[in-house]
Symmetry: C2
Subunit: 113 residues, 2 copies
DNA sequence: ATATTATACATAGATTCTAAGGGTATGTCA
DNA sequence: TGACATACCCTTAGAATCTATGTATAATAT
């Protein structure tokens, strides 16, 4: 029910999701799962620490938002620096995914039929 | 000069390279770098431990091969179990690369122009 | 002599993950 | 009423994997 994310790819996806607008931990995780048709899973144990690192790095800012119903949420917004970093990291991630396909394709193509 | 491999992707690529025929640590690393046009880097500190794990898991077998010139090499060969596992892991890796593109594409497509 | 390339390996430390759990609130179902 | 599920926040322990760096040998190139 969903492969784990690879090393370091999680923050890039968090920034990508936040580039669509402010959101909070739980919703970010659900959004990634939704966008991947449940192929990716984002665990709380890696998400929340990652959010803290992104905030410490000044790429996002979090603010507590009291809710009329249910538990309060900590809503994160991308900063300007965060938007730039988002562009950089998502491009890196795309390039990585592309090169994986290239390498595996080249190896597969070399197989005897 | 080459992005590092993500978590867990290294053994899959090692198995993929070995599916073309026996090889040894140094050559495997160079092959991955070549096939990726130097976009990927495979470091010794992660390659050699990974080779040991793959051997312990019975997916590859290593044999020392004395060389007429230069240092001896430990040449690894894929086992039958290793070949099956190679198919499984490379497919997982392909799927992962694909879903990354899908997710980033969907987020990007939702951006205002 | 020194540096570079080819080859093997080890270890320390950092990062990031997985697994597991605690805590609150609301809604649902028997 | 009580149990359970869902929606949210968070933490910690331990495993896995990585990066960085160093040891070692041999050949080759400067």
């Amino acid at each position: 029910m969903g492969r784990e994310l690879s090393n370091g790819d999680l923050p890039a996806l968090v920034l990508a999701v936040l580039s669509k607008g402010p959101s909070y931990g739980y919703a970010i995780a659900r959004e990634v799962e939704l966008l991947s048709d449940q192929a990716l899973r984002m665990r709380e144990g890696s998400l929340y620490p990652a959010l803290r690192v992104l905030e410490q790095d000044g790429l996002i800012v979090g603010e507590w938002a009291p809710q009329p119903k249910g538990a309060d949420r900590k809503v994160y917004t991308l900063t300007e620096a965060g938007r730039k970093e988002m562009v950089r990291r998502t491009q890196e991630l795309r390039d990585y995914a592309t090169v994986i396909h290239t390498v595996l394709g080249r190896i597969g193509d070399a197989q005897p039929a």
